[in-house]
Every structure is written in structure tokens, then in C-alpha cells.
């Protein structure tokens, strides 16, 4: 599991400060986190292509938002994951809208680019769980994604969501309950 607490072989703070004005300094930060964000996005979307889209959007937003980044709330890593969860929420909203329109038209046309290819699955993937997670409200999705799929500690996840540890624990607990209900609903419907 990806950990943010691993020792980092470079001075992240210094790079972040330099990257505020020099995009070239952003590259080491990008290289450090790209695989983690990509894996996080893949677990959440179940698609390599979507994971690449989310990863791209996350780092582009991060680079754009870097001048406004402050060191409060967990540092660069949690901040990056927070952006990723926002991008993922946007992604799921767009996806839901697209599916809905298709349903109304009764013309179920799945663009070939969206079909999961052979590389879109990985060992241990749990599409049922992912679908149920996608039906939760965005705050619950964000909490569970950060806590379990990104593997952040409670304090890091709380920092990423901008709340206290205690609040985060409550949100996670309620989100788990909501997810359980969704899974039970799906099991009944199946």
C-alpha cells in the first residue's frame, strides 16, 4: 500500500517552494507521486484510461494551484490526494451524466474507447465494491477513497479533507455503513 510516511529521498518542501515559480522543479515531485496517484485512480475507476485521465488532470490542477498551496494540513501528499479525489468526483459525475443520457435515449452506445480493455483489470480488483462506492455521496466517496484506497492514515486523510481527526473518523464510519447498505441492495437486486 502506498504510504505517505515513507522517508522521501529529496527535500519536498524545498522543491514545492521552487516549483511555485519554476515548473521545472515540479518534475521531481511529479515523478515521486505519479505512480501512487495513478494506482489510486485505477483502483477507484477500474480503468487504465480513466486512471491516466485522472492522473493528468490531478497534476495539471496541482501545478496550477501550487502558488496557493500552504503547508497547513498535512503537506504536499495529502493535498495532491485531495485534488485527485476532487478530479475523481468530477469524473464520476460526468460518467453518471453520460450513462443517464444514454439511458434516456435508449440507445446504449458505449464508445469503444470506454470499454475496459485487457489491461483495465488487475488481480484483486473488486468492481462490485467500486460500483457501490460510486453511488455514495461525494463526501463519503472521498473519505473512503482517501482512507482505504489511497492508504492514508486517519490524520492524513483528515488533513486532505480539511477536517479534524475526530470528524474524519465519524465520516468514515458513516460512509462504511452507507457502503454496506449499497452492497446489500446490490446483492438483493442481483
Amino acid at each position: 500500500m502506498d504510504r505517505l510516511t515513507d522517508p522521501v529521498p529529496f527535500d519536498e518542501r524545498e522543491l514545492v517552494e521552487r516549483a511555485r515559480t519554476d515548473p521545472r522543479a515540479f518534475e521531481p515531485l511529479y515523478r515521486e507521486y505519479v505512480a501512487r496517484i495513478h494506482a489510486f485512480a485505477w483502483r477507484r475507476t477500474g480503468s487504465r484510461q480513466a486512471a491516466e485521465d485522472v492522473t493528468s488532470a490531478t497534476f495539471e490542477r496541482a501545478l496550477r494551484g501550487l502558488p496557493g498551496f500552504t503547508w497547513q494540513g498535512g503537506g504536499f501528499g495529502p493535498w495532491l490526494y485531495r485534488i485527485a479525489t476532487n478530479v475523481l468526483n468530477d469524473h464520476h459525475r460526468a460518467e453518471a451524466k453520460r450513462q443517464s443520457r444514454r439511458g434516456q435515449l435508449a440507445l446504449v452506445v458505449s464508445a469503444p474507447a470506454d470499454l475496459p480493455g485487457p489491461e483495465s483489470t488487475f488481480e484483486g480488483d473488486d468492481p462490485v465494491l467500486r460500483r457501490a462506492l460510486g453511488r455514495l455521496n461525494s463526501r463519503y466517496q472521498q473519505a473512503l477513497s482517501l482512507r482505504f484506497l489511497a492508504g492514508l492514515e486517519l490524520s492524513e486523510a483528515a488533513a486532505a479533507m480539511g477536517c479534524s481527526k475526530e470528524t474524519m473518523a465519524v465520516v468514515v464510519s458513516r460512509a462504511v455503513q452507507a457502503l454496506r447498505r449499497e452492497l446489500e441492495k446490490e446483492a438483493v437486486n442481483a
Binding site: M1, P23, R24, F26, E27, Y30, R31, V34, A35, H38, A39, W42, R43, R48, Q49, A50, A51, E52, D53, T55, S56, A57, F59, E60, L63, L107, V109, S110, A111, P112, A113, D114, L115, G117, P118, E119, F122, E123, G124, D125, D126, L129, R130, L144, R147, F148, L149, A150, G151, S173, V176, Q177, L179, R180, L183, E184, A187
Partner: protein
């Protein structure tokens, strides 16, 4: 089901490690971030270019065609969309119809007949074009030459006095070009048949090795109207040749970009080659609009360039000599001695 079970499932999913991101994706995104030139992602690019109708037509074609026999672990690319007549020449010489969803193995040639098109791994192969799959990259190989794509003499090449047959419906093969449009307005004033001057700035090109032994290319871009832009094509030839036309003097297409704002690319030339590059802007009909200066990339030394005007429109699109001086332009580090590239990477 207990909450604990749900947590365990979440933890199990979080503990799984999906495949690492593709090296090409990581490199391209890194270049893009550092250069500060955002490029639409593949999905957005494809969806913008293809209408829902084409998507529907392509989806109908998804149904079958399993090519597992050709997938033996070598690099492959995915064909996302097709329309019209698309065929794939497989490495063993057999020809199969190109359909959306199929996996195209390395060494294949993709041909688009007539007015069709194919989208392969995010690269659009347009009408009449060909592309080959090399090292997991899709490399367009067939760019129709201007002389072979113009309309018959009675239409596009007609003198002003022949503007009368304006009612002749244009055929698919004789798509009107941007320079022929004014001929349809009058039969009396010969001056109306001249090409309106373009506000096009010369294109400049820089080439430099990065620390991974790849050549990073940056060009100044096509400044004409977006409607007259089709794509950038990056040509490479071994020095001392100058890249001009694909197939001549060792010139080959190493990359293509259909976004007018895409102003960079990365190429991995053979380690023993001293490459010379040129970027050509094509219009939507694949006619050459403007060509960049040549960018010579000597063995690990600074870049130098020579001018290279286009033949088609020398008056307005001639290139300008540019010499890069030391220190290097911003955004580039001093080029190290080139090392063997990790993987071929064409401009996309």
C-alpha cells in the same frame, strides 16, 4: 454483512497494486507539465473529434474479431474507432478489416481507404493515410503529397475563366482546398482567384537531448486560422540529409500532433544516428502549409539550425534561420552525452 466486512474489502482493494503507469504516459505528462502546455487527454481529444454518430457506427462494429492469436506478449495498440474502410496488414502479411476494439500488434500497417478514418491508440489516421505500429507507437507513414491530392484540373486548378462550372458538385477525392475557394464568386475579375495573403508567422524549431537520451523538440506553432490547420508532422532524417518528404533521403515521420496548441514532442532516435528534424504544419487535407526551420541535433552538442522554406508557399511561409546560442534557452538543461533511450517514443 458487517461493517467490518466492508472495511476488509476496502482494505483489500486498497492493498492491490494495479499495473504501473505506462512509461510513455509518464514521460509525456511530465514533459507537458514542465513545458506548461496542457494537451487534452486522449479521451477528450477523441470525443471532441468524433461525433456521436461516428461513435454509434463504430460501436456497432465492436461485436467480434478476436485477435488473440496475434497477441504473443509483444507491444500492441488498441483501435478505438473506425469509420469507412479500414484494413490492417498484420506482420505475417495477412490483411484483416480494421474494426473498433481490436488489438493491433506491433509491426502492423493500418490503411484507411476512401473517406474513412481510424483512431488507434489516440492517433487519428485520416482518409487515405497509412500508419504503422512500431514499438507500441502508432506512426503515420502516409501523408499525401500536395500534388497528388489536388482536385482535377477542371475544379481546383482551373484558371479564372473556367470558374463557370461552379455548380459542379465536388467529389470526395476533389475536396476543395483553402486556396481555391474564392474562384466561385465571379467570372470577371481575375484578381479574385489569387490566394489571400496569410497572416502566418514562420515556425521555429528547437531540438535538444534530455537526460534520458531522448530528443525534446519544441516548435513555435502554426499561427494561421485554426480552420486551416490539420496537424503537425515531425520529420526526421539522418544527417547530413535534410528532412523534407517522407521516404526521401532517409526522411521518416516520427510523430504527429493534431492539436494546434501542441508545441513539443519527444523522439528517441537510434543511438548511432545524428538526427535532423523538421516540423511541418499540414492543413486538414494534409497539404503542407508551413515548415519549420531545420533543427540539427549534433552529438550531444548545442543545437543549431538552418532555414528551410516550404516549396508550396514561399512568399508567406518561408522559414527563418534561427541559431540557438549558449547558454541554453530556458526550460532546457545542458544536453548530456546521449544514452540509449529506454523505449521508442514518438511525438503524439
Amino acid at each position: 454483512m458487517l461493517d467490518h466486512d466492508v472495511e476488509q474489502r476496502l482494505a483489500a482493494l486498497g492493498g492491490r497494486r494495479p499495473p504501473a503507469p505506462r512509461g510513455r504516459f509518464v514521460d509525456e505528462l511530465g514533459e507537458r507539465l514542465v513545458s506548461g502546455s496542457p494537451v487534452p487527454s486522449r479521451r477528450r481529444r477523441v470525443s471532441r473529434l468524433l461525433s456521436p454518430v461516428l461513435s454509434a457506427a463504430a460501436a456497432v462494429l465492436i461485436t467480434v474479431l478476436v485477435m488473440s492469436g496475434h497477441d504473443d506478449g509483444a507491444q500492441t495498440v488498441q483501435m478505438f474507432q473506425t469509420a469507412g474502410s479500414v484494413e490492417v496488414v498484420l506482420p505475417d502479411g495477412s490483411v484483416v478489416p480494421g474494426v473498433a476494439g481490436m488489438t493491433v500488434p506491433d509491426g502492423s500497417l493500418i490503411r484507411v481507404r476512401g473517406a474513412g478514418h481510424a483512431v488507434v491508440d489516440g492517433v487519428i489516421v485520416g482518409p487515405g493515410e497509412e500508419a504503422e505500429v512500431v514499438g507500441g507507437d502508432v506512426q503515420p507513414t502516409g501523408v499525401p503529397e500536395p500534388t497528388t491530392t489536388v482536385a482535377p484540373p477542371t475544379t481546383a486548378a482551373a484558371p479564372p475563366t473556367t470558374a463557370a462550372p461552379v455548380s459542379t458538385p465536388p467529389s470526395a477525392a476533389a475536396r476543395p482546398t483553402t486556396t481555391a475557394a474564392p474562384t466561385t464568386t465571379t467570372t470577371t475579375a481575375p484578381s479574385t482567384t489569387t490566394t489571400p495573403p496569410r497572416e502566418v508567422q514562420p515556425m521555429r524549431l528547437q531540438a535538444r537531448y534530455n537526460d534520458r537520451g531522448q530528443v525534446v523538440l519544441r516548435w513555435s506553432g502554426y499561427t494561421g486560422p485554426p480552420a486551416e490547420f490539420g496537424s503537425y508532422v515531425v520529420l526526421r532524417a539522418p544527417a547530413p540529409n535534410r528532412p523534407d518528404r517522407p521516404g526521401e533521403n532517409g526522411t521518416r515521420i516520427v510523430g504527429r500532433a493534431t492539436d494546434q496548441q501542441r508545441l513539443f514532442g519527444v523522439d528517441s532516435p537510434p543511438p548511432d544516428m545524428r538526427p535532423v528534424y523538421r516540423v511541418v504544419a499540414l492543413d486538414p487535407s494534409n497539404r503542407r502549409v508551413i515548415a519549420s526551420t531545420f533543427a540539427v541535433q549534433p552529438d550531444g552538442a548545442q543545437t543549431s539550425t538552418q532555414s528551410g522554406p516550404t516549396e508550396s508557399q514561399p512568399a508567406t511561409t518561408s522559414a527563418r534561420t534561427q541559431t540557438f546560442s549558449s547558454p541554453a534557452p530556458s526550460g532546457y538543461s545542458q544536453p548530456p552525452t546521449p544514452t540509449a533511450p529506454r523505449s521508442p517514443s514518438a511525438v503524439r
